[in-house]
């Protein structure tokens, strides 16, 4: 496997030529077509808080910068709103690429320090596996307990509860069909 070191403003980055092919295969997207027009970045509000813009992520994938991409904050800020892919003149569905990167990072247990996205997704899927549906009250409580941030949205939680929007009785019925899907699905979950 060909590897080398790139000196970028972000620091020294180890490149791995196989990475681009892996992301292209898993996402099914023509990554090599990205010519850095930045239409994706100009319409992407959520990743403005990230370390790279979507077009920079595309370029880093082309470089084969596996580590920099899979450890980036940007991928976890993508909400899959699909604005980027809609506007891409080369027809690259960038949200599919972002999903692939998240899947790869999650499978390897890689996440930037303080990023709770993978924990949230894991709890979400545990809810589905357990009872077939997501009980939003339980999901919120479990997430708050796991992150130790129980009080941040306390007032909000109370307002929702008072309006009957956070039912307390959890669903207990297991769904064998859903269990089987989890068993058949590869990878995490």
């Amino acid at each position: 496997m060909a590897t080398a070191t790139l000196h970028l403003p972000a620091g020294e980055i180890t490149v791995d030529a196989a990475f681009r092919e892996e992301v292209a295969r898993l996402s099914g997207q023509p990554l090599e077509l990205c010519f850095q027009c930045q239409k994706c970045a100009s319409g992407c509000y959520p990743t403005q808080e990230g370390d790279y813009t979507p077009n920079e992520i595309m370029r880093l994938i082309q470089y084969g910068a596996r580590d920099a991409v899979l450890r980036s904050r940007t991928i976890w800020l993508c909400t899959s709103c699909e604005t980027c892919g809609l506007r891409c003149p080369n027809g690259i569905r960038i949200a599919e690429v972002m999903d692939t990167l998240k899947q790869m990072a999650a499978a390897r247990g890689i996440a930037p320090v303080g990023e709770t996205g993978p924990l949230f997704h894991n709890l979400f899927l545990c809810e589905i596996r357990a009872v077939g549906r997501v009980h939003e009250t339980m999901l919120m409580l479990k997430y708050k307990l796991k992150t130790g941030n129980l009080f941040a949205d306390m007032k909000l939680g109370w307002q929702l509860f008072r309006r009957g929007k956070l039912p307390l009785v959890p669903r207990l019925k297991k769904d064998p069909a859903v269990r089987r899907i989890f068993e058949r699905a590869g990878g995490q979950g």
């Binding site: 909400t79 899959s80 809810e127 549906r133 939003e136 929007k165 859903v178 899907i181 979950g189």
Partner: protein, 283 residues
């Protein structure tokens, strides 16, 4: 007309008023929504982010259930709608994906049922003329910014139901109810969706921008078709901001003069009654 109805997880909790108003409005229009027996989570917002098989399998399972019922499937939640449509699109057009979905969900895909958002049914199956005929209390003078969110019209090859960049279906519906839709540029700009719990500060910035733009356009309220949008716009709004955010089905219920409507609106975090009283739409 009878449809299978897939409420989705949010409509049993944070989006309960969307569920109640959808059912009531469907009844008023003579649409029969039969809740899909044994429906399970579609996998949104998490399955597609961590596991490709789960994303396809969980959605395909519900399509399998709908297939058994033999009726087209109606989905009010935009997030569920897009996940189910995506899985259906993949199975319909890609034999390898169809085989993968059939293996994961243990069924045989026929492609005989179609998936619709409730907005699509109202707009295309019922039609704005029919909706206008059902109006008893027109929403005259109420200026609304129609907020479609990301997922209702995207990606266009999966669901070519409205224009992906500048959709108009909610605007046309609002006009049919007597309201005045205002032109604005943020119809499909993301609200932050599932980041609400993990990155609330990011969602707060996105929501502040959207609400400020709606105000600037002269709107008295926003109209949505998605429980994630509605909740984010209310929960993560700036402290001083109090612009009401309605589901389109709630505005339909109000305009139809349905008795249950005030009960749905009481569940909002932003009290919409002062605004409605100004327009003599609530007691």
């Amino acid at each position: 007309m009878q449809y299978s109805y897939y409420p989705g997880c949010s409509l049993e909790a944070t989006g309960v008023e969307y569920n109640l108003s959808t059912r009531a409005v469907a009844g008023a229009l003579g649409l029969e929504l039969v809740e899909l027996p044994g429906w399970t989570c579609c996998g949104s917002s998490s399955a597609h982010a961590v596991n490709k098989d789960l994303a396809l399998g969980l959605a395909a399972h519900n399509i399998a259930l709908a297939q058994e019922q033999g009726r087209d499937l109606v989905v009010p939640c935009s997030a569920c709608y897009t996940r189910l449509c995506k899985a259906d699109h993949e199975m319909r057009h890609d034999p390898a994906e169809k085989a993968r979905a059939e293996r994961l969900a243990g069924f045989s895909y026929t492609g005989k049922i179609q998936i619709y958002s409730f907005l699509e049914i109202v707009k295309d199956r019922v039609g704005c003329d029919e909706v206008a005929r059902a109006v008893r209390k027109p929403l005259t003078g109420l200026k609304v910014a129609c907020y479609y969110g990301c997922l209702l019209v995207r990606p266009p090859e999966v669901r070519p139901f409205d224009r992906a960049e500048d959709p108009t279906s909610l605007d046309e519906l609002a006009a049919a109810l007597g309201a005045e839709p205002v032109p604005w540029c943020y119809k499909t700009t993301c609200c932050g969706a599932g980041l609400s719990l993990t990155r609330p500060e990011v969602v707060e910035q996105l929501v502040a921008r959207l609400l400020a733009a709606a105000r600037e356009a002269g709107a008295d309220a926003l109209v949505t078709a998605c429980p994630l949008c509605q909740n984010n716009l209310e929960m993560r709004r700036p402290a001083q901001e109090g612009i009401p955010v309605f589901y389109f089905t709630e505005l339909m219920g109000l305009a139809f003069g349905l008795e249950e409507a005030p009960g749905w609106l009481k569940k909002h975090l932003v009290d919409p009654f002062p605004l409605l009283q100004r327009f003599s739409l609530a007691g």
